[in-house]
Subunit: 131 residues, 2 copies
Amino acid sequence: MNPLFHELFQKSRFLTNEINLTLKKHNLYASQWTVLFCIQKHGEMSLTQIWKYLNVEAPTITRTVYRLVELGWIDIRPGKDRREKIVSLSEKASQDFSTIKESILEFEDRMVESLTKEEETILIELLRKIK
Amino acid sequence: MNPLFHELFQKSRFLTNEINLTLKKHNLYASQWTVLFCIQKHGEMSLTQIWKYLNVEAPTITRTVYRLVELGWIDIRPGKDRREKIVSLSEKASQDFSTIKESILEFEDRMVESLTKEEETILIELLRKIK
DNA sequence: TAAAATAGTTTAGCTAGGTAAATATATTTC
DNA sequence: GAAATATATTTACCTAGCTAAACTATTTTA
């Protein structure tokens, strides 16, 4: 396998594992946090808005969202258009949000501390060129 | 989320989806191919050798290997040390291998064609710095 | 050499991605 | 306005990663 792709996949797995470790104390998994973050950023959202924004398929979001409802992080209600479901952060999620975000920011900083700002920019640009 | 990690995860998913598409005509999935490739490269291997080399956990390899046995790509036999299982490519896999490898190489080339050789090298190096 | 520790593999069960197809509601078209 | 089409979500079922714990065979140690 092309060493570039190999390295990319390895790093992707490494980072999700590390994020999961960081989130463990908050009882969250990486993709659950991603969804919470997305909702916090946009306020109320329909499921379709979420999966289009995160660029994943609808069933993935259905599943994660309902798990988050179960865990008490999210409230869900029908929209004006009765096909759609609207989700928003629960009281609990709103309260804990900034603490969790803090953990994640610390983690992210730690992960890129061996890169200069310039290198980080170049890395992003080069990744964007793959398509 | 840090735009670097966002881009990295997006690209990782994008690439596995594209690889799966490429492998569809050979009735294989990305990780199945990764395991086949690994075995072809090293000849006979124990399960532990495979998961250590690919840097994933043992149960992941157990599952993929047995699926590959089921599908007729791999032969499996007990080792001298009776705890271990040794796997090797089946007749079918050996025959089809180079054709599939060809598809993958074409795919990989297509994916990096907008990068110069230098950029590819830099990209790998920068990815390696994340840890 | 019997007991304890280690190594290789598997099982069970979780998250997280995907596709294909079903269902329910809205919208468009004839 | 009824029929056809489109949109939002869900269901079922794959692959693919993970952890924790079990099981078996080997190696080490007291």
